[in-house]
Symmetry: none
Subunit: 233 residues, 4 copies
DNA sequence: TATGAATGAGTCTTCATTCAT
DNA sequence: AATGAATGAAGACTCATTCAT
């Protein structure tokens, strides 16, 4: 009963603001309240950083809103002003990550058509390395049970789609279905980059080299496959 | 802050029992069984099965001891008699999984020396498929935060070691360091098999075929590498 | 226990402002209006209307100051400028209702002396019907725990007094005590009019007719009683 | 998510017990856990009494589970073991009241056919007086927003139905519709008995006498109406 | 003066764990 | 030894109220 009341109220209270804020709403799209003053933006940023830290360290379930509030020097009430639920915070974080990632992917896609599979493989690994820090958040939020299922699914779809597109740019003759299957597998392989992070530096270096090799081998094999199929026709 | 205090306290309170438990867990999960107190063994088995089910379904955090007790028709007090903490149950489950897996790996290792890399690749994928059901438990317990960090780490080490051994059996000339690096990567790749489970049947089939191909390609490349290096000497 | 401490504290903190408020509330709810600061009056009016709406819809407890502020397009800070507490707003609303009602009662009282009990009964029911919309506010605020106990008690007294007066006007020979007792009972009966509102139209119609009949019968019986007692002397 | 888990678990855990307890389940029908040991029954009783007290004093919203737990010398967790939500406690209390009331009504119904309207009126008022203490709880729970709407509605229906039946027993010739309309009105009138409780003793006495008179007059008038209608045919 | 961000006590509820019977 | 009642710390979230800008 309370919940309904609350939601109703909020909708009422937010209607008009929703409009003028819709442009900035991208980051906080998940039901989060947009700050209207300078101070608020700083606060939101602080909360998000704390959120990243805590979710990454403990995982979605074990992370507590109280700790996130404390780490960002925010009263719990203020945290909830901007992010009306734990899930909404996780969603916002994920969204931001998706956006960052997506735009990076777009850049990669542009260059992909001019790359050999080997080059592309390196580009992919480098790309994952550049995401590094954020990546572990995504793992904590997506691979665990964090946030809404729906958004997590959408996130996965988006990422897979981006990779599939890049693959088709770089390796013509791939059917859509093929590129999508390969995207899933490739994405999985690339996730190993994030995993490497937890190892000791020496091991990490070797691991990264190996992942690089694997990726290259995979993409080259994919290329030859496509060529074979083509010449067979 | 509170949370930490709490956890600390708990750990303290449990230390001594942990010992009793680990004996028992080992005893139970290894084949050896004490004939006396048959009832107790049945009970423990029931609890463990319920634990597997619940942890798999809900993940470590969301699983409750009460539900595990209920599903195994055990009074909560009895459950705690055998497994003095949630963590200890997760650990026991993981241990059993490790042992099962390890012995399977051993069998695989015996045959590995007679296999070509391509055959080995298929064997690995088939192997993962055969673990399927149990595998999702490991995911729930290892990739999330279930069980003690320490044991999870040990679990990973064991698995990696098994794979490394197999690799060296099948592909001579690999140094220990190489085989270990490759084992990490290969294990990661093979985890995709478990992930494929969540996809629709049609996708799943394509995915598995692709993973198979990737694994084969990877192992074959590994072989040629080793050969090259050898002939270069 | 905590709750009590909290409430106490709040009351303490507000005492002095209560005075300022009650002046204002009285001023506002009586006809007199200060020409200066027109804006403020509009704002107060808007707040009060929103307050009526929200309290009526949700009841005192579930109503939130934030929603009342939003519905009246008022910043929460401004709302608190005029009504320093939720209770003070409820009180102001109740006061206004009492005043409205009282003046209406006064009009009724003027005509009452010329009415037969039967006519008076109808007049009462019609009167309650005319209050309808406001009545539900009173229910939300008086029958629940809205506003201060003290003011609610005063409100009840006033209303009962008005009715008692009317009764004595219409039915001479009633002692003061009698009229007061009857006022309490009559008021209770008339509240059924408000309750009828929640029923389906068909039922509502029948209900109102029945209440009308009951009221008539009651007042007529009261009359005969008085007559009897008189002639018995 | 948690909620679902919880519910699921409970259902599982309770299945078998539900059976052997179904006979006693009447009182705690609203999802409450039945105690299985002596101690538990005492506890449940204590909780319910505390619940009655607190709900009556503060109303549903303002009552806190913490206070109810404290007043019944129960740990909050124990309270929730028996009554898994605030609403379920309110429901259980209401149910018990309904049952008490209903059986009393049944007894009244048996005698009603032999009563004159005047006697019936007195019987009704006496009846309400006998419910006294419990009545104010019903007011707190039914007339406010306490508990689930559905159950409150059902409660009202049941009570009205009982009264309607009694009326038809005592005053033949009433149509079903008539008796139902009159039941609603009569019930409302009788509620004044509970209200009288809050007055000073002297006032209370006079009030009760007046309510008695009103009820008598109403029922007698109802009788004559019915007679008139009959002879007019 | 108006605004809305900040505050934090308090609410309901959950669940691992202990302990009396 | 088995049972399940008891415990209470902790978590997510709300909202009346204050105060800096």
């Amino acid at each position: 009963m309370h919940a309904e009341i609350h939601l109703t109220m909020r909708s009422d209270a937010r209607k008009e603001q929703q409009l003028k804020l819709s442009d900035m709403a991208t980051t906080l799209s998940s039901g989060a309240q947009e700050p209207k003053r300078q101070r608020g933006h700083l606060r939101v940023a602080a909360i998000m950083e704390a959120g990243v830290a805590v979710f990454t360290e403990k995982g979605y379930d074990a992370a507590t809103m109280t700790e996130i509030a404390a780490r960002s020097n925010t009263a719990i009430g203020s945290l909830y002003r901007f992010f009306p639920s734990k899930e909404s915070l996780a969603d916002a974080l994920l969204s931001r990550y998706v956006e960052d990632t997506t735009s990076s992917f777009t850049a990669l896609a542009d260059q992909a058509s001019a790359m050999t599979p080997g080059q592309l493989a390196d580009a992919f690994v480098d790309f994952m390395l550049s995401l590094q820090s954020q990546r572990s958040l995504a793992v904590a939020l997506v691979d665990s049970r964090g946030g809404s299922d729906e958004r997590r699914a959408r996130f996965r779809e988006t990422t897979r789609g981006s990779i599939a597109t890049i693959l088709r740019n770089a390796i013509p003759h791939l059917t859509k279905a093929q590129s999508e299957t390969k995207a899933v597998v490739l994405l999985h392989v690339l996730k190993a980059v994030a995993g490497a992070n937890d190892e000791k530096p020496a091991v990490r270096r070797r691991l990264l080299a190996e992942i690089r090799k694997l990726t290259r081998v995979y993409l080259e094999a994919t290329q030859s496959d496509a060529d074979d199929r083509l010449s067979a026709e």
